[in-house]
């Protein structure tokens, strides 16, 4: 299963990077969302998918049957952080559009040509 997951995650990374490289800001933001999704799934996969029971203490489940709880906790943290960042990014895009009147990254050239 882990192999299939790894391939699928690779595909998600591909999609995410492809979106991030496009010109439209909203596609870029969606791309970053996908990127963090992929990263979280990858973490879960790396922890191993072999658990039989959720990592919650209950009767009749031996210690070895639990899914690995640590990646889950870390992913939870990462999800929340990604949420904070994504919402920030969204608002930034929203404000940038108000301020600059475009969401095309080509038109958002930097000040590099400034001398």
């Amino acid at each position: 299963m882990e192999i299939i997951m790894s391939v699928a995650i690779g595909l998600m990374f591909m999609a995410a990077v492809y979106l991030i490289l496009s010109k439209s800001l909203i596609r870029i933001i969606i791309g970053t969302s996908l990127l963090s999704h992929a990263a979280h799934l990858l973490f879960l996969t790396m922890g191993g998918l072999g658990g039989i029971a959720p990592p919650v203490v209950s009767d009749g489940v031996t210690v070895n049957d639990y899914a690995d709880p640590l990646p889950q906790a870390l992913i939870l943290t990462a999800i929340v952080i990604a949420f904070a960042v994504t919402s920030f990014f969204l608002v930034l895009a929203y404000r940038a559009y108000q301020e600059l009147g475009t969401d095309n990254m080509e038109q958002l050239r930097g000040t590099e040509d400034y001398e």
């Binding site: 039989i52 959720p54 209950s58």
Partner: protein
């Protein structure tokens, strides 16, 4: 009993796939929103069946949550489609 769950799961999945097709295909946004709402329902069923299969009660919260969210989500989308915005800024 297990067989029953599996068969149900299979059937629900077929409808899930169909809805997914509708979600992808569109053609109008309204189609997609309806599809999404229905997907919410099928998801609830799937999770319920799954927790029956793997014999755990810990996903009940998930089920409840899904139905709540599905409700809110559909309401939000509907409002968005109708008015173009989700929250009214002025009191009605």
């Amino acid at each position: 009993m297990m067989t029953f769950y599996w068969v149900s799961l299979f059937i629900v999945s077929i409808s899930f796939t169909g809805l997914l097709f509708r979600l992808v295909k569109g053609p109008t946004v309204a189609d997609r929103v309806v599809a999404l709402d229905a997907i919410g329902v099928t998801l609830v069923s799937i999770v319920a069946l799954l927790s029956l299969i793997i014999e755990t009660e810990f996903f009940l919260e998930v089920i409840l949550l899904m139905s709540i969210l599905s409700f809110i989500g559909t309401a939000a989308f509907a409002k968005f489609l109708e008015r173009g915005e989700i929250f009214d800024r002025d009191p009605r």
